[in-house]
């Protein structure tokens, strides 16, 4: 009853505060959209300038959707600085050189990959031509030997006991099939190479849920403390747990709405591909948003101004990004591997990747969900205990 009134009050306050509403709903959409367009499309074409490069290599480059500009000798650095191409490929005395500025890995990566592949393929072609030559030489040779044998007297030939297999298999398929990639890549999850954004997106969804909910819950609890209304509230017979749960569910409503909007927007407007079910994405993020609520409320206990609340962001929020599945925790320093398990975003981010990219089912994400739930229980308990500062019972 009291809790319901508290929830009603919070809803009223949030709905009246247009800026908070914008921060909750528009800000994450804006940032996610921005990121979607900032990361280049892998199908975008890369331009390479070719100097002294034979037509065969150029053909292969062009087959791989690389735009090739044939150029003469030039000042490579200024040519690249002017943005004419992502790299310059040269051949000198059989040595291949690709020059890049090394300031834009997004375009230069594909340039390096494309040109080394082209050079490798030409070398392979040469090799297979050589093999062809060798085989035809051998055929000539064996024909010569046979001829010779026929001219020898029969008894000599028998004694020599040369078991000449004259049927050298001349059907050897010496033609290496150049239409295929030199390496064929098998994808265990998904069916094409994931762009960075595709890996990042599910993590970002969770990050925004975490960040904005943390901020808004923390700020409003801080306001409640500094305006004296929390103390006033505690002078009424309300239970401390009713306050904490009232806050949790009051802001929880908005957290759930925000989660829904971010997820639906990512999936339906930005076409984020999801291998698993969208409802599992909801569940993970709703759990996470309640963790963020609990943490925000708790940290507001330790600050006395909004500025101090902001200071917690680089301390508490930013480090969590690194552990959220973007980087492989298993290969980090040992002490970092110990830190990862205390971060809620570590569980949520990895669970999101599991659902979105690997199509994990609800049963398979049960473990991270239980840990997130544990976080909620711990934060709620600490919050209730923290209220003792204002009232002893």
């Amino acid at each position: 009853m009291r809790m319901l009134q508290l929830i009603k009050r919070i809803c009223k306050q949030v709905l009246r505060d247009k800026r908070t509403l914008a921060l909750l709903f528009l800000a994450p959409i804006f940032v996610i959209t921005l990121l979607n367009y900032i990361f280049p499309d892998p199908d975008d074409e890369v331009t390479i300038a070719a100097v002294n490069v034979n037509d065969e290599v150029i053909d292969i480059l062009e087959d791989n959707d690389i735009i090739v500009k044939q150029e003469n000798e030039m000042d490579i650095q200024s040519y690249l600085e002017e943005g004419n191409a992502s790299g310059v490929l040269e051949e000198k005395d059989g040595n291949w050189t690709l020059t890049i500025l090394n300031d834009n890995p997004m375009d230069e990566g594909p340039a390096i990959q494309g040109s080394s592949q082209a050079v490798m393929e030409t070398n392979l072609n040469d090799l297979s031509d050589n093999i062809d030559n060798m085989i035809s030489n051998m055929e000539d040779m064996s024909a010569g030997v046979e001829e010779m044998m026929e001219q020898l007297p029969p008894e000599v030939a028998e004694n020599m006991d040369i078991n000449m297999d004259t049927n050298i298999n001349t059907d050897i398929d010496s033609e290496i099939d150049m239409d295929n990639d030199p390496i064929s890549v098998e994808y265990i999850y998904g069916d094409e190479s994931n762009t960075f954004f595709e890996i990042l997106n599910p993590i970002l969804v969770s990050f925004f849920v975490f960040f904005f909910v943390f901020l808004i819950a923390g700020m409003s609890m801080l306001k409640e403390r500094s305006s004296g209304t929390l103390e006033k509230l505690l002078s009424t017979p309300i239970r401390k747990s009713e306050i904490v749960f009232g806050y949790l569910f009051g802001y929880g409503i908005f957290a759930i709405l925000q989660t829904a909007i971010i997820i639906l927007y990512s999936v339906y407007i930005l076409d984020m591909e999801i291998a698993g079910s969208i409802s599992n994405m909801f569940i993970i993020n709703i759990f996470l948003s309640f963790v963020a609520l609990g943490l925000g409320l708790l940290l507001s206990t330790f600050v006395s101004s909004e500025f101090q609340m902001i200071q917690f962001i680089p301390l508490v929020i930013i480090p969590q990004i690194f552990f959220s599945g973007m980087l492989n925790v298993d290969t980090m320093e040992t002490w970092l591997q110990w830190i990862a398990p205390i971060m809620p975003l570590y569980y949520a981010g990895n669970a999101m990747i599991d659902v979105v990219l690997k199509g994990f089912t609800f049963g398979e994400i049960l473990a991270p969900l239980s840990i997130l739930f544990l976080f909620i229980v711990v934060f709620v308990t600490l919050n209730i205990l923290g209220m003792r500062r204002y009232r002893k019972v």
Binding site: M1, R2, Q5, R9, K12, Q13, R16, D17, S227, G228, T229, E231, K232, L233, L234, S235, T236, P237, I238, R239, Y390, R391, K392, V393
Partner: protein
């Protein structure tokens, strides 16, 4: 009946209240007066169970403080306005009324608003209230659940003289059902109390009806009592 016996309270090394024993009798207005920083607010917070006291005991209606259920019987007005600025006056009252868990009729809300003369402005956001209006709204909130005990920490600061008289009349009316404890710095308000508690030096320096106190100290107004107390203290100090 509110009873403090041998209650002490300190913040860290600073002792604020030492061996304070008070009986606050029912259906009377008890005024708690004393210089700024003597611990009036601290005493009130201990009485409500919001602050922990170190030794002694506090009882309200034979129930030991702190006790959450006791808060049902208490209406409290803090020294600083504790209002939701993004809600209207009426919404503030209604919200706190619900916190007492009792059904509070619209009529009761209306008459409380009339008492503090906020009927006109009840639908304004508190952010747009004047200082005195906020004070009046806080008072209305303390009265809303018709509490047995009313604890008001400087209720009339920033309220104009006419309204102040009006409010004091109402407070005397409330005595029929309630016991009131009020702090104030205004001496003619002190004179309107039934009982006075004078706080000085970590404890109660004098108590009784205003008339008794004036007679005991042989002075004509309460301000002079504090001057007298200083003199006595000074005399004692130089005698040592």
């Amino acid at each position: 009946m509110m009873q403090l016996s041998n209650m002490s309270k300190s913040f860290g090394k600073q002792t604020i209240l030492q061996d304070v024993s008070i009986d606050i009798s029912a259906n009377q207005i008890t005024g708690l007066i004393g210089p700024s920083g003597t611990g009036k607010t601290t005493l009130i917070k201990c009485l409500m169970g919001m602050e922990k006291y170190d030794t002694g005991s506090i009882q309200i209606d034979d129930t030991a403080v702190p006790n959450r259920k006791l808060l049902n019987k208490i209406g409290y007005m803090a020294q600083s306005d504790s209002l939701y600025h993004d809600l209207t006056g009426l919404e503030n009252i209604q919200f706190f009324a619900h916190m007492y868990g009792r059904k509070i009729s619209n009529k009761a809300v209306q008459s409380t608003l009339n008492l503090v003369q906020l009927e006109q402005d009840k639908n304004k956001l508190v952010a747009h209230y004047s200082g005195g209006m906020k004070r009046r709204l806080s008072l209305a909130i303390a009265l809303i659940n018709q509490p047995e005990y009313l604890i008001l920490d400087e209720p009339t600061v920033g309220i104009d003289p006419v309204l102040k008289l009006n409010i004091w009349d109402q407070l005397h009316d409330l005595k029929k059902e309630s016991t009131l404890l009020i702090t104030t710095h205004i001496m003619d308000e002190a004179m309107k109390c039934d009982q006075l508690l004078l706080m000085k030096n970590k404890g109660i320096a004098a108590s009784g009806t205003p008339q008794e106190i004036l007679e005991n100290f042989g002075v004509s107004d309460i301000d002079q009592v504090f001057l007298k107390l200083e003199e006595i203290e000074y005399a004692n100090a130089s005698a040592d």
